[in-house]
């Protein structure tokens, strides 16, 4: 009888352990293995693959919808959306230094060589080096800026403008460089005889 009770008790303990284990396993399985982050506005980090649509639990304050009944609200559409990077600029090289991909240094080395050639009035040689720099690091805004300058020096305004546009995208987080790009674009447009657009770019530059 006592033995039977003991067996029954130990069976109960085993069952309880099993239930606890299942519960723990279930909890672990339901916990997201990847912290979900919403990229701040105008940063370059698109949601990391292969995560599905991020199931956001708490939207950031800026996007918080009003509590209570659903109401129509004007869109949150601010200048910041259009002209990012208004925060104070860090000196070049310090910006996101830790996030630089390994090819960045190689690419910058080529850019420096390109700049030397450009300064020496050899745009043809500079173009080759800037192109190689782009090939190595597609996000090197300096290389595109260099290409824009070199093509302008060679008298190809349209080409220069295309490369300047690329630099403009890549320097969104660097107001100092962005200003340089805007001014270059203003000059290129002026060369192309588009005074109105040129002025617009100058104004953009002056706002930075």
């Amino acid at each position: 009888m006592g033995g039977s009770m003991e067996r029954r008790w130990s069976g109960f303990v085993r069952l309880r352990r099993l239930v606890v284990l299942i519960a723990l396993g279930f909890t672990a399985a339901c916990t997201s293995s990847r912290p979900v982050q919403i990229p701040p506005e105008w940063q370059t980090s698109a949601p990391a693959p292969p995560a599905p649509h991020p199931a956001v639990q708490t939207p950031p304050q800026a996007h918080a919808a009003p509590s209570g009944p659903i109401i129509r609200r004007p869109p949150e559409f601010r200048e910041k959306d259009l002209a990012p990077g208004l925060e104070p600029a860090l000196p070049p090289g310090q910006q996101k230094a830790e996030a630089r991909p390994p090819q960045y240094l190689a690419s910058m080395h080529l850019v420096e060589q390109g700049k030397s050639n450009l300064a020496a009035g050899r745009p043809e040689a500079a173009i080759g080096l800037f192109e190689q720099a782009v090939q190595v690091d597609v996000h090197n805004g300096e290389a595109f800026l260099g290409l824009a300058k070199a093509w302008r020096m060679r008298g190809s305004g349209k080409k220069a403008m295309e490369f300047a546009r690329k630099a403009e995208i890549l320097f969104q987080d660097d107001p100092r460089k962005l200003k340089e790009v805007y001014l270059l674009e203003a000059d290129i447009l002026s060369d192309l005889g588009d005074a109105a657009q040129s002025n617009q770019y100058r104004q953009k530059a002056s706002r930075l």
Partner: protein
């Protein structure tokens, strides 16, 4: 007596006159003849001396610390460039040695127009399959440029392979080897060596057979360059005469340089090896200046009978002949006994790897096609042009491997194997493009160039199917947003008086889908609805802007890719999406450089804005969804774990299987199908995507996929996944969505609320 004595001088004078006239005539004849020979020689030597085929090179490869690269992969790179694994220190140019996590390479010099890759010793350090350091001496290098790979030669009908060298490049011991064994009095005679001829005659008479020739190097040059290989007194006289004239016209070193460039030194299949420069590369994988004494003696020894003394086919004979040359050098005091012994004991090591002259055949055809538009065939085959291309050799090799293995895998797993034979073979196209520069990095135009050289990448007109949809949605972004609700139901359209009703791939009709879902799941009905809503002319305009030149008709089926494009056109159009809306001009030919180094053609990166960066980004974001959740998600299971955007494409009756995907620095298009348009029984994901993933995994050391940059003009909002409106606190499932700044939704979710 007196009369007699008076008449005699008259007779003498006559003979004298006749003799004088004869001598004058003979002198005039010989002078004219020599002048004729002189003019002939001058004309030949002052024009192009040799037919040198154009050489086609890949792009150089750049290595940098931090690159994902293993020791074996780097070893492979050097082997492809015909470097030899060293057997002893010190390393010589063209050699490398590797350990578990280190590699030392002695680079050969390589001259580009404008800059030279110096010959130097480089030390590589690896950590966990990454290149950790590149060192030259004590200095750490930020990057290292590796010489390009020669991928083709454009031979003329004579099929002579020759790399011209300058006498200043030639090491002293090669000059000494050649002169010692062929003409040791070369610097003493004036074209014809009478001492040598007498000695040779004496030797021949003693042996009662021809054992020694008396031809000087100059005579050999004349024989090889000007004369037919007949054995006659007349030819010998002519040879001697011309040799004398050449000696009069040129310096000794000039003559030796011509000889070293002219001399025949063996055979590679149907191609003959001419000159020491080419032979040094072919037999030893070295530039001529890097040849050792033993290697120089081997090449010099081959002059007499190149194939009999070939180090490939007759190693023993070649080594004996080399030692004969070395002994002769020792006898003549050109080397000392220590040098002799060292060189004599040197094992005969020749390069065993085949020169990669047939790599990337479809790409080479593509380049040739462009070259033939620029230059005459004769110029390409004989003027020694150096043609630099954008081909990434490692990617090109990976592409061919991925295509071969991928097709094997598809055919193994597919129920219908499609029969056998060329007509039945499943065909393939793979195009790899750098989206930011337009550089074509690899191009495969079929499964086997040997069987069919038809370049499908350029010339196959195939229906793109759903692979065209991104451009339909690109055209619609002014009106629609990624959360716009689109009808997904069967609708009958009247096309040319006939009813036409598109069907979804899975025959499932959801009633309504978001634009994002329509792209991710490749929903046909929704796409046709969008195309008709914005107007088919708008779609056509977009396609034209993106470089699609094939005929397009404003029919509803246009939205589903029911028209023909070439794979290269489609790759170009996608490149605009991967390049912030700027369509790069595809670039395969970079530079054409003349023999003397001047650049005669240069092509640069060029692009034109065809849509805004914001729209291009939005489509990219939609295509990222295809990979993360949609029809292309199978590649995530194949090791593609980084940021990438892609679209599948399948046409009616599975005739075409497409997969076009891009990262920040690589765009790859793959097509799989039959030439005769039979069904492949493969969707884009089942066919092309497999090859795509296989290729991208293999080229991982050469790409650095980064997050796609969000350009100006794009904003993001948190939306309710159920309603597609801006999310409120009560929405259970929310997601981040991107919008054009001037086309943002403003409505909040009305489905979820307090109640």
């Amino acid at each position: 007596m007196n009369q007699f004595s008076v008449r005699r001088p008259k007779k003498n004078r006559l003979w004298l006159k006749i003799s004088v006239v004869f001598v004058l005539l003979m002198s005039l004849f010989w002078a004219s003849y020599f002048f004729y020979l002189y003019s002939e020689i001058k004309a030949r030597f002052e024009s192009r001396r040799w037919s040198v085929p154009a050489r086609v090179f890949s792009a150089p490869v750049l290595l940098y610390p931090g690159q994902v690269l293993s020791v074996s992969q780097l070893g492979q790179i050097f082997q492809e460039r015909r470097y030899q694994e060293a057997v002893r220190e010190p390393l010589r140019a063209g050699e490398y040695k590797a350990s578990r996590d280190r590699m030392t390479v002695y680079l050969r010099e390589f001259k580009f127009p404008g800059h030279t890759l110096a010959s130097r010793r480089i030390h590589f350090v690896f950590q966990q399959n990454r290149l950790a350091r590149i060192q030259s001496g004590d200095a750490d290098l930020v990057f290292l440029e590796i010489e390009p790979l020669e991928i083709a030669r454009l031979f003329g009908p004579e099929r002579e392979s020759r790399s011209l060298i300058n006498i200043e490049q030639v090491p002293r011991h090669l000059i000494d080897s050649v002169t010692a064994i062929e003409d040791h009095r070369f610097y003493e005679h004036r074209g014809v060596d009478w001492v040598g001829i007498s000695r040779a005659l004496w030797m021949d008479l003693r042996a009662r057979r021809v054992v020694q020739g008396g031809s000087t190097i100059t005579q050999q040059l004349v024989k090889n360059y000007f004369l037919e290989p007949e054995r006659s007194v007349k030819r010998k006289l002519l040879e001697a005469s011309m040799a004398v004239i050449i000696e009069y016209m040129y310096e000794k070193d000039e003559i030796l340089e011509m000889y070293m460039n002219e001399i025949y030194l063996g055979q590679r299949g149907s191609v003959s090896i001419h000159g020491m420069g080419e032979a040094a590369r072919y037999y030893f994988g070295r530039n001529v200046e890097d040849l050792s004494l033993a290697e120089s003696a081997t090449l010099a020894g081959m002059i007499r009978a190149p194939n009999a003394y070939s180090p490939y086919s007759s190693a023993r004979a070649s080594q004996d002949r080399r030692n004969t040359v070395l002994r002769r050098m020792l006898e003549l005091g050109k080397i000392d006994s220590e040098e002799y012994e060292r060189a004599r004991l040197d094992p005969l090591r020749v390069l065993r790897t085949t020169p990669p002259v047939s790599a990337a055949s479809y790409f080479v055809d593509y380049v040739k096609h462009q070259l033939h538009e620029l230059y005459e065939t004769e110029a390409l085959e004989s003027e020694g042009l150096n043609i630099y291309t954008t081909l990434h050799p490692e990617m090109a090799i990976a592409a061919e491997l991925a295509v071969r293995e991928g097709l094997e895998e598809i055919e193994r797993t597919r129920s219908d194997k499609g029969g056998s034979g060329l007509d039945a073979a499943l065909q393939v196209v793979l195009i790899a493009v750098h989206p930011k520069t337009g550089a074509v990095l690899a191009l495969v135009g079929g499964r086997d160039y040997g069987e069919s050289s038809f370049n499908r990448a350029l010339y196959a007109h195939r229906q793109p199917g759903s692979a065209i949809k991104p451009f339909v949605y690109l055209s619609a972004l002014d009106k629609f947003t990624p959360v716009s609700r689109i009808p997904d139901e069967r609708t009958v359209h009247v096309v040319n008086g006939q009813p036409w009703s598109p069907r979804n791939y899975d025959d499932r009709y959801r009633g309504e889908v978001s634009l994002r879902e329509a792209v991710e799941e490749s929903v046909n009905c929704a796409t046709v609805h969008v195309a008709l809503d914005i107007g088919l002319d708008n779609v056509i305009r977009t396609l034209r802007n993106l470089g699609i030149q094939s005929p397009l008709e404003p029919l509803p089926s246009l939205a589903l890719g029911a028209f023909e494009v070439t794979p290269i056109e489609l790759a170009g159009a996608y490149a605009a999406l991967g390049n912030d809306g700027q369509k790069p001009y595809l670039l395969s030919l970079k530079e054409v450089v003349a023999e003397k180094g001047e650049i005669i053609e240069r092509r640069n990166i060029d692009m034109v804005s065809v849509t805004s960066p914001a729209k291009a980004f939005l489509v990219t974001s939609l295509l990222q969804g295809v990979v993360d959740r949609g029809t292309g998600k199978s590649i995530r299971r194949m090791g593609i774990d980084f940021h990438c955007a892609a679209k599948t494409g399948t046409t009616n009756d599975y005739r075409d299987s497409w997969f076009v995907g891009y990262m920040t620095d690589l765009l790859v298009l793959v097509w799989v199908g039959y030439d005769d348009n039979r069904s492949t029984h493969l969707t884009g994901a089942q066919g092309a995507a497999r090859i795509w993933a296989r290729f991208v995994n293999q080229v991982r050391p050469w790409i650095n996929p980064q997050p796609f940059r969000i350009p100006p003009g794009v904003v993001h909002r948190i939306v309710c996944r159920e309603s597609g409106a801006l999310a409120n606190t009560y929405c259970r499932e929310k997601s981040l969505e991107f919008f054009l700044a001037d086309n943002v939704i403003q409505e909040y979710c009305t489905i979820h609320g307090k109640n």
